[in-house]
């Protein structure tokens, strides 16, 4: 594959051969990613949203809680740029906190789910046979327990309601299986290819082959899946909130704000639109970034572009 690289990017020293190749590959990926306009715009937007969610609360007067000083249910004004709720929450304060909790849940889920799922799926796919069979049975069991019920069961028996990390762990615990399934499918068809057989013949250990050869070659699908998982986690959290199994009040998430304001679209739009639009924007940017990453990471599409 290295023949595909432009000669000027190969700057290796005798002492640092592999590292050099790696750095240049990374540079290429970075360059490809930087050229991906939607992804770059999305990344910038996401950074702004992350700052809004994590730094914003330190700068803004009101937090997400009810205060007696906050007038109930007023439309946007100078004191409360996004208005207030019936009980007297500042919507801007809620939005910051809600975005923060939602992002924490989503990223935690994605990282945990992807790492566990990829390793699990790749291992199963690589070994095949009995190991594959056994490992995939475990995946099957995890996949057939629907998330909502799990959360209902756990949220009901955890004293003191559900915190963001509990929600994240619960979602992650049951969503890695899907990634494992996808990765295993890809690895199944990859493991018969020459480069894997070559590596095996050269005496590489299975762990090495999985991490160095199979997973990087499955990077496209993994990235797509991990990206989707972020959006899935955000939307699952929203769905859970709708059925009232999500993060418990007085803490708040975007999903919860959307659920609460579900019927407010025409009566109190300041409650309805901000959390919904913010959630959609977050999901959109994350998906575009994933898309850009995919294009940048996939070594097989370097040359040809029509």
């Amino acid at each position: 594959m290295s023949e595909n690289r432009a000669p000027d990017t190969v700057r290796k020293t005798a002492a640092d051969g592999v590292g050099g190749v790696e750095r240049t590959q990374l540079q290429m990926i970075t360059r490809r990613f930087l050229r991906h306009r939607p992804a770059m715009i999305s990344l910038a937007l996401l950074i702004v949203i992350v700052l809004f969610a994590f730094v914003g609360p330190y700068l803004w007067t009101w937090d997400h809680l009810v205060h007696r000083e906050v007038p109930p249910s007023v439309p946007p004004n100078a004191d409360h740029p996004l208005g207030t709720t019936t009980a007297g929450n500042d919507v801007l304060g809620q939005l910051m906190r809600g975005a923060q909790q939602t992002l924490k849940v989503a990223f935690t889920v994605s990282v945990l789910g992807t790492v566990v799922g990829s390793l699990w799926g790749a291992t199963a796919g690589y070994y095949g046979g009995r190991v594959d069979s056994l490992m995939m049975r475990v995946v099957d069991v995890f996949m057939i327990v629907p998330l909502l019920v799990m959360v209902a069961a756990i949220a009901g028996s955890v004293r003191g309601g559900t915190t963001w990390w509990a929600v994240a762990l619960i979602i992650a615990a049951f969503s890695w299986a899907q990634i494992a399934r996808v990765v295993r499918g890809v690895v199944l068809s990859l493991r018969e290819q020459e480069f894997v057989e070559a590596a095996r013949a050269a005496g590489a250990s299975p762990g090495w082959i999985i991490v160095r050869h199979l997973l990087p070659n499955a990077a496209g699908p993994i990235i797509v899946a991990a990206t989707l998982l972020v959006a899935v986690a955000i939307l699952l959290e929203a769905g859970m909130s709708f059925l009232s199994f999500g993060i418990q009040l007085p803490d708040i998430s975007l999903g919860q704000m959307i659920g609460d304001a579900r019927t407010a679209a025409s009566t109190r739009p300041w409650l309805f639109y901000p959390p919904g639009v913010l959630l959609v924007i977050i999901c959109l940017t994350i998906n575009f970034i994933g898309d850009g990453l995919r294009d940048a990471l996939d070594p097989r599409q370097t040359m040809e572009r029509r």
Binding site: P38, G129, S133, R137, D140, V141, M143, I144, V145, P146, L147, L148, V149, M150, A152, A153, I154, G156, S157, Q178, R181, V182, G185, V186, L188, S189, E192, G220, P221, V224, L228, A231, V232, L235, L236, A238, G239, F242, L243, G255, I258, G259, R262, A265, G276, V280, I281, I282, C283, L284, N287, F288, D291, R294, D298, R300, Q301, E304, R305, R306
Partner: protein, 336 residues
């Protein structure tokens, strides 16, 4: 192949067993089926509670209940999965869980079937088109639409779709689109054509809502795998040999590119089941999704377990089919 199939089917049995244990333990720990009865005002007679707890087998130990639930041996004849009986319900003494599921299955299948067919068709079409015209305006538009679809919470989107349906009605001056109910009652006594338009009126909006998520994610996968195939050596070779683009795409690329989709669709079954819970609620269809919410609300353990086992079996079947299709579609995969 046949041997593999048989082995997989046999292999599904321990999975189901394991799942049944997990399901049973989780549901059993998760709530008291008599919670509602206990806080009733005025409080019911202790004898009533005693009667109920005997009826629901709550007077037995947990392992004993599991055994009962699976086999029905030692029960009152209303329990035992292996005998096709799902157990007593908290919702009423005569609420037949099995019959109820059977009755609602049709409602849900109608919705799920329509949503899957349309989602799949649309996903393949847009995925392929997007991949073939990568980086074109069309690709960007389709990508954006797909991402937008993936970014919307189901119940939020449902509200918008309902609103759009109502606005359409107002605009055209009809009452064509309906926003609640499955239309079975309204379809009675209609001519075939009348039934068709009635179905259209009641099914269009919920189908759009339920297919949204699946369509978008399948379309993304389809685009990805199509791109991969288009950039693969053998497609390049086929092109280099001068085969017309059309033939390359249809005969070589598309077939290969459909393979990953089988897994994705099978995996997507669980998401669709989740989706039906929300969609049926918002459109007030009395299918299995609503059955689930009802069971949760009523602390109806046996109904929940039945529901979980059913959804579990469905997912297992879907996965089995996906695995078999893999072998059929991709000659590189060998099942030995």
């Amino acid at each position: 192949m046949l041997v593999y199939t048989v082995r997989r089917v046999l292999g599904a049995i321990p999975v189901l067993l394991l799942a049944s244990v997990l399901t049973f333990v989780l549901i059993d720990l998760s709530g008291d089926p008599l919670a509602d009865l206990r806080v009733m005002q005025p409080p019911p007679d202790p004898e009533v509670i005693q009667l109920q707890s005997e009826r629901l087998y709550l007077d037995r130990s947990m392992p004993e209940r599991y055994w009962l639930w699976m086999t029905g041996v030692g029960g009152n004849g209303d329990i035992g999965l292996l005998q096709g009986k799902f157990g007593p319900s908290t919702q009423s003494a005569t609420y037949d869980i099995g019959a109820n599921i059977a009755e609602r299955l049709g409602v849900t299948l109608r919705l799920v079937g329509a949503a899957m067919v349309f989602a799949l068709g649309l996903a393949i079409l847009t995925g392929v088109v997007s991949a073939m015209r990568q980086y074109s305006k069309l690709d960007y538009t389709l990508t954006f639409v797909g991402f937008l679809a993936l970014a919307m919470p189901t119940f939020w989107f449902a509200g918008i779709v309902q609103q759009a349906g109502v606005s359409f009605n107002e605009l055209v001056g009809t009452q064509f689109f309906a926003t609640v109910g499955d239309g079975t009652y309204q379809a009675q006594g209609l001519s075939p054509w009348g039934r068709f338009t009635n179905a259209l009126a009641y099914m269009t909006l919920p189908t759009i809502v339920l297919m949204l998520t699946s369509f978008a994610s399948w379309s993304r996968y389809q685009r990805t795998s199509m791109l991969e195939v288009l950039n693969s050596d053998y497609v390049r070779l086929a092109r280099a040999k001068g085969l017309p683009n059309r033939v390359v795409v249809r005969r070589h690329a598309l077939r290969t590119a459909l393979i990953p989709l089988t897994t994705v669709v099978a995996v997507g079954m669980a998401a669709i089941i989740d989706g039906t819970v929300l969609t049926e609620r918002v459109f007030q269809w009395r299918g299995l999704g609503e059955f689930f919410i009802q069971a949760v609300t009523a602390n109806d353990s046996f109904a929940l377990m039945a529901w979980l086992m059913l959804s579990g079996t469905t997912v297992i079947l879907a996965n089995l089919i996906a695995d078999l299709l893999y072998g059929v579609l991709d000659p590189r995969i060998r099942y030995e």
